[in-house]
């Protein structure tokens, strides 16, 4: 059954009221993604779907490519994301190059490479762990064996993911032994928890999905949306069931920034994580949404940190 996501939200609003299904906010103009055209000590030029855009690199601009980098490490052709300065859109506050993330369950381990299942609606990812980051990865992911969770930020190098920074602490048990969610007593119209990100374009800056806004949601209605091969488990956070095309409001509890976001995909892999985010000290466990990379940055998240604490409101 083809999914007309725009109609679903609008018809929900017609039946239940506009506050129930808010109109998704437009992309933040302060987040720009594209292909790096040129970079110098003071200027960066990016090819975007809207044309070429140039940004000034100030003294306090931060460049990232697996770690904090300098301009010589970025080269034309790379996938870059620019977050502009809040007071001046023509100044790049942060620039990320080659950013990628793999979140899911390890399904195979061979020759030092991991294969990770990132959800029933996505391709498995192949993960390489470079020697220089292996110690850091091992600290928070001590068991790199099939059946265990994996979540790391790194670099996309010619289609291979190089894990650099672990962004969660791996549970000591495999996913098959994940505890059940305790019984929920209250009506969950607002849910606090952790928000992560994913890249729907998988590093292809020219892909229309590269600048998509919205979220993959870990609690889709199984009978309407999850489809064949559905591997969705019950999320640790008490999330209201939604469908692709519906919308919710999300507030970054660390920065206070808020936006209305549309559910654009299934976040089944994130439903397996019941972790906390230490960004601003919330005690709430469980991942409540997996934002697209641009939405995550627009709401004030740092992709290399992997998460922020947020409150989700479903009308």
């Amino acid at each position: 059954m083809p999914v007309d996501t725009r109609e679903r939200r609008r018809l929900t609003a017609a039946l239940l009221g506009g506050g129930t299904a808010p109109v998704p906010d437009e992309p933040d103009p302060g987040v720009v993604r594209g292909t790096l055209v040129d970079i110098g000590p003071h200027l960066i030029s990016v090819a975007t779907p809207q044309g070429e855009e140039r940004f000034v690199l100030a003294e306090d601009s931060v460049l990232w490519r697996g770690r904090v980098a300098d301009v010589t490490e970025l080269s034309p052709g790379q996938d870059v994301i620019v977050r502009t300065h809040p007071d001046n859109r023509w100044v790049a506050q942060r620039v990320w190059s080659g950013l990628a993330r793999v979140t899911g369950v390890i399904v195979a381990e061979e020759d030092g490479l991991l294969e990770v299942d990132t959800g029933h609606d996505r391709r498995n990812s192949v993960v390489a762990i470079p020697y220089r980051s292996s110690g850091r990865i091992q600290v928070r992911h001590p068991i790199l064996k099939p059946g265990y969770l994996f979540d790391a930020v790194g670099l996309d190098k010619d289609g291979e993911f190089q894990a650099m920074i672990p962004v969660s602490s791996q549970p000591p048990y495999p996913v098959a032994e994940t505890p059940r969610r305790p019984a929920v007593r209250r009506r969950p119209t607002t849910v606090s928890g952790t928000v992560g990100w994913y890249d729907p374009a998988e590093g292809r800056s020219g892909d229309p999905l590269a600048t998509a806004t919205g979220a993959a949601y870990p609690a889709l209605d199984r009978s309407a949306d999850c489809g064949p091969g559905c591997d969705q488990v019950t999320s640790c956070a008490p999330l209201p069931l939604l469908s692709i095309g519906t919308s919710f409001r999300l507030r970054n509890d660390c920065t206070g920034r808020s936006a209305a976001l549309q559910v654009i995909a299934c976040g089944s892999a994130t439903a397996r994580f019941c972790d906390r985010c230490a960004t601003c000290g919330s005690e709430e466990r469980g991942r409540i949404a997996q934002l697209t990379l641009t939405s995550f940055i627009a709401l004030g998240g740092l992709p290399e940190a992997g998460c922020f604490n947020a409150t989700l409101t479903v009308g």
Partner: protein, 290 residues
């Protein structure tokens, strides 16, 4: 009287073992793994199934066997409960947060003196049955009022020693909120087709099956293609997850323009601010700090 007490132990032990086996087969909560939780992960489920299978076999033996085979089963049951006492004491030292797993996920409360005492009492009960000339089924068929009194007293004692009752009471009294409840599609369709709004809009609907289905919290939405006054329309029903057929809402929307033509039930419609923003009730700038 002593024989009455001994005979009733066969039934109590059999029922306890059968309930334990059923719970282990059906509930896979990690906190209810009991001693199996101390083993490597790959052994957890096989050990739980083996434990449950052994309990079921012993229960059947207690009910149907007598004579020498019956005594062997009763002795084995006593041995199992003695081992349970030892294991539970060890489990309490090794992992104070772990439940005993006696009744699968229902036994998720950390092992305490009540659980250990219960296992000890059941071991004594099993020992007391060794040498009885009758089987459990025979004891049940020949039971009298004295058996019922002893059984009632024993149920009270075992109930007081069972932390699982608290978990059962919680599960029975706390229903999952409608926002979180997975509901079969056929139940939604049955509620829709039983509603007055379905009857009154049936003539407008042209598609035999829904063209789209989706969920938003406590509501499931069902969209049909239709035709009204010579124009293609969408007939959209909102069916509440809980409550009766009277809560169903519906709107008819022009398929081409998207204009809402008519609403039925307590349809919210779009407020002025909704229309100003295209549907969002909260008119605030995106991504601003609030």
């Amino acid at each position: 009287m002593i024989d009455v007490v001994r005979e009733i132990q066969l039934l109590v032990l059999a029922v306890m073992l059968l309930l334990g086996a059923a719970a282990k087969f059906t509930d896979r909560s990690i906190n209810g793994q009991g001693p199996a939780g101390l083993l490597p992960v790959r052994f957890h489920r096989p050990v739980a199934l083996l434990h449950g299978g052994t309990e079921a076999a012993l229960a059947v033996g207690l009910l149907v066997l007598k004579g020498q085979p019956g005594n062997i089963v009763r002795g084995a049951t006593a041995l199992m409960f003695v081992l349970a006492v030892v294991t539970l004491i060890q489990l309490r030292k090794r992992d104070p947060e772990m439940g005993c797993g006696c009744f699968g996920g229902l036994s998720s409360e950390p092992v305490g003196w009540r659980t250990i005492t219960r296992a000890g009492l059941l071991a004594v009960a099993a020992v007391s049955t060794v040498g009885l000339p009758v089987s459990g089924v025979t004891a049940l068929l020949g039971s009298a009022s004295a058996h019922a009194i002893v059984l009632g007293a024993e149920i009270v004692v075992l109930g007081a020693l069972s932390p699982e009752l608290k978990e059962i009471a919680f599960r029975l009294t706390h229903r999952t909120p409608c926002e979180l409840r997975q509901v079969p599609l056929r139940r939604t369709m049955a509620r829709l087709r039983a509603s007055d709004l379905w009857e009154s809009n049936r003539a407008t609907i042209t598609s035999a099956e829904p063209v789209d289905l989706w969920r938003h919290g406590c509501w499931r939405f069902v969209r049909f293609a239709g035709r009204r006054n010579g124009r293609d329309v969408d007939v959209v029903f909102g069916v509440p997850i809980t409550g009766g057929k009277s809560g169903v809402r519906a709107v008819i929307v022009d398929a081409e323009t998207g204009t809402t033509l008519v609403g039925f039930g307590e349809v919210a419609g779009l407020s002025r601010s909704d229309r100003a923003r295209g549907g969002d009730g909260a008119a605030r700038a995106p991504y601003e700090a609030v």
